[in-house]
């Protein structure tokens, strides 16, 4: 793509634009209404931590290194690292799908956990926030981590079946 580099074109057009509001994307009240409807939604920070922990703990439970999981799931190692470090703002749908397969989680729940889909399930939201709060960075699964993981996975699976 090559942009117009004519000085006069830019000046004339910018003059017409006159720093007005040219926003497109739905009225504010719609976003506000959405925000209200999304009351049950998982807070972004908690979601990212919970997703990171879910993937990391499940991987360690299967006694796999990051490289091994990436290979098994046939996903990009750097994406996986990003996810486990809670840095993943927008993972690729394929990566989420493959991880769900290998880690044996319900697809649609993984979509919610990864931020690619929304939920109104309050139960899931609360459980996610609790799980995020409980996770800590250690190398072996402590009994507390094991318990936390098991409890959370139970909620994930149950909420999927319940629809």
């Amino acid at each position: 793509m090559k942009m117009n580099d004519d000085r006069n074109w830019l000046l004339a057009k910018a003059n017409e634009e006159d720093n007005c509001i040219f926003s497109v994307g739905g009225l504010a009240y719609r976003s506000a209404a959405e925000a209200d409807a999304n009351q049950g939604e998982i807070p972004e920070a908690a979601r990212r931590v919970a997703f990171a922990r879910l993937v990391e703990l499940s991987r360690r439970k299967q006694r796999l290194t990051v490289e091994q999981l990436a290979e098994k799931a046939d996903v990009d190692v750097s994406q996986l690292i990003e996810i486990e470090e809670g840095e993943s703002v927008s993972p690729e749908p394929r990566t989420v799908y493959k991880l769900a397969q290998v880690l044996n989680f319900p697809q649609d729940r993984m979509m919610v956990m990864s931020g690619l889909a929304r939920t109104r399930d309050r139960h899931l939201t609360e459980a996610t926030v609790r799980f995020a709060a409980r996770s800590e960075p250690v190398s072996i699964l402590s009994p507390e981590e094991e318990e936390a993981l098991q409890e959370y996975v139970k909620v994930l699976v149950e909420s999927a079946i319940g629809g």
């Binding site: 634009e17 720093n19 509001i21 926003s23 739905g26 703002v89 927008s90 931020g115 690619l116």
Partner: protein, 204 residues
């Protein structure tokens, strides 16, 4: 993520300055831009309301909510960077919308899903005068070129917020369509291939 050289107008001198069109804005960039814009957007809205004027109709937006969409091939996110800051953002959809105009009905077009300029570029929003001009024009130019590259002939479609209607009708020379009841009763606007070419002003 690609950076394409372009320019904006520095309002203080009314001269063009170097800028970059970012094609393939990342989630991290969206987050940074939103953090930089959010507070000012709200401040500006409050200020206008206190002065008895209408606040920008998009003051409760959040670009971070769009980050899920950018990994789908049907969407493309563009930004304009200048002085190491995001000056404008645009999310377009290449697949879900088609022309509604007689003679072209059903033909694919680039739909502008979201577009916004940084609060400090909007006239009368901040106490200081606007910093850069031409952000809207550059983003629309990018959308048109994207449409041409995709084989859609430069056709664009969008639902304009009421405050933005005049920009699209006059500056972009888009054709006003019907009120869309499926989309908040906003007007549908469409750019024809001919007017797209006119807008781009490319020398043959």
């Amino acid at each position: 993520m690609k950076r394409i050289p372009t320019s904006l107008v520095l309002k203080a001198t009314n001269e063009p300055v170097a800028a970059s069109l970012v094609e393939g804005v990342t989630g991290e960039m969206l987050e940074q831009a939103e953090l930089a814009w959010a507070a000012l957007r709200i401040e500006g809205a409050k200020r206008l309301q206190a002065a008895g004027r209408e606040a920008p109709q998009h003051w409760r937006w959040d670009w971070r909510r769009k980050s899920a969409k950018i990994n789908f091939m049907a969407y493309r996110c563009f930004g304009i960077e200048c002085a190491d800051e995001m000056q404008g953002l645009m999310l377009v959809n290449l697949t879900n919308y088609v022309s509604r105009m007689d003679g072209q009905r059903g033909k694919p077009l680039v739909y502008v899903d979201y577009i916004e300029t940084a609060p400090w570029n909007v006239k009368d929003l901040m106490p200081e005068p606007p910093r850069y001009g031409g952000v809207g024009v550059r983003l629309i130019e990018a959308a048109i070129r994207c449409s041409v590259d995709e084989g859609f002939g430069g056709r664009l479609g969008l639902h304009a917020l009421p405050q933005a209607e005049s920009f699209y009708e006059k500056t972009c020379e888009m054709t006003r369509g019907e009120i869309d009841r499926q989309y908040e009763n906003l007007f549908w606007f469409e750019l024809t291939t001919a007017n797209a070419k006119k807008f781009l002003g490319d020398k043959p």
